[in-house]
Amino acid sequence: MSHIAITVIGHDRPGIIAETTSTLAELGVNLEDSTMTRLRGHFAMMLLCTGEVSAARVEDALAGLTADGTLQVSAREVAVEDPAVASARPYILTVHGGDRLGIVAALTRAVAGAGGNITDLTTRLSGELYVVAAEVDLPAGADEAVLTAELARIGRDLEVDVSFRPQETDVL
């Protein structure tokens, strides 16, 4: 059984998902976790799949998507990872302000320096406004107050607003 990471990205049009997943089904490749979204008009798919075929065979089968030159496709075999979530305290990091180079780099470096693991991150550029929203797992030993102060300091330096707070978990 191969574990295969597939990416498809390029000009958005109706039918990209249908064509990609139909090809995978014909190969007997099962679509497990995925995210598919529009990013500034491009359509981007990241798929984790399993099947009894090689990644090269999958990439060949998906080559039809790239025929008109508007989509790029890759398929690579990846190691098996444990999808179970490690015990950690979840936080939300949000940032907004004027767009400039290095906002995500500076803030995520601080998170990594504190041992925090970013599990999800999205950015949006809307006119002059740049927005970041990230979900961060902090290990039990991490000092939340020190990281919060460091993120605030970086926010002041970059002239962006930074909020770092515990994520509320919805449990029925």
Partner: protein
């Protein structure tokens, strides 16, 4: 403390005509600045209250506007959620100065937009039962607004503006910010 003063209030009580002001957009620094407390009997504050209501009235879909959104870092906002499908309790049109939340409970997630962030919306958890104390423009008397549902959300959104926060500071997760699909 008056409970009925807010429901009976309308902008005609201000005695001045409101002017339509330009709404500023993020990342304008004034939107990230905590607003100064005001003297609600100051004629300039009364004029600002009228201007906020006038600007809200001409802005399609606008259910509230804070002074910081017209570039003035003063602790004043207007609200009018009448006619919105998600309301339960409503107090009509009102303006509050120096408002603060005194009770908040039953937090629920809901979608918010903002005239100062016109192209994005976001999911934000807010209290759906709320008590706010503030002053009506032209009066030093404190009034309490006890409300729920959509009016409670609007009040918290506007008080956040007065404290220098946008809904973007409160979004519920990495996938809780969306490109706006509907413009009114």
């Amino acid at each position: 403390m008056s409970l009925s003063a807010v429901s009976g209030w309308s902008e005609t009580d201000l005695g001045v005509d409101g002017r339509v002001l330009e709404v500023v957009r993020a990342p304008a620094p004034v939107l990230s600045t905590p607003s100064a407390k005001v003297d609600p009997t100051d004629a300039r504050v009364v004029q600002l209250a009228a201007d906020l209501v006038a600007t809200m009235r001409v802005s399609p879909g606008c259910v509230g506007l804070a002074a910081s959104q017209v570039g003035i870092a003063q602790h004043v906002f207007c609200v009018d959620v009448v006619g919105h499908p998600k309301i339960r309790t409503t107090h009509g049109t009102f303006v509050l100065c120096n408002a603060r939340v005194v009770e908040a409970s039953r937090r629920e997630k809901g979608r918010e937009g903002c005239m100062s962030v016109p192209d994005l919306t976001g999911d934000v958890k807010r209290a759906t039962r709320l008590a706010v104390v503030g002053q009506l423009p032209g009066s030093e008397e404190e009034v309490m607004v006890e409300t729920d549902a959509f009016e409670a959300r609007a009040l918290q959104h506007e008080i956040d503006h007065c404290e220098g926060f946008l809904f973007l500071d409160r979004v519920a997760g990495a996938h809780a910010i969306y490109p706006r699909k509907t413009y009114m």
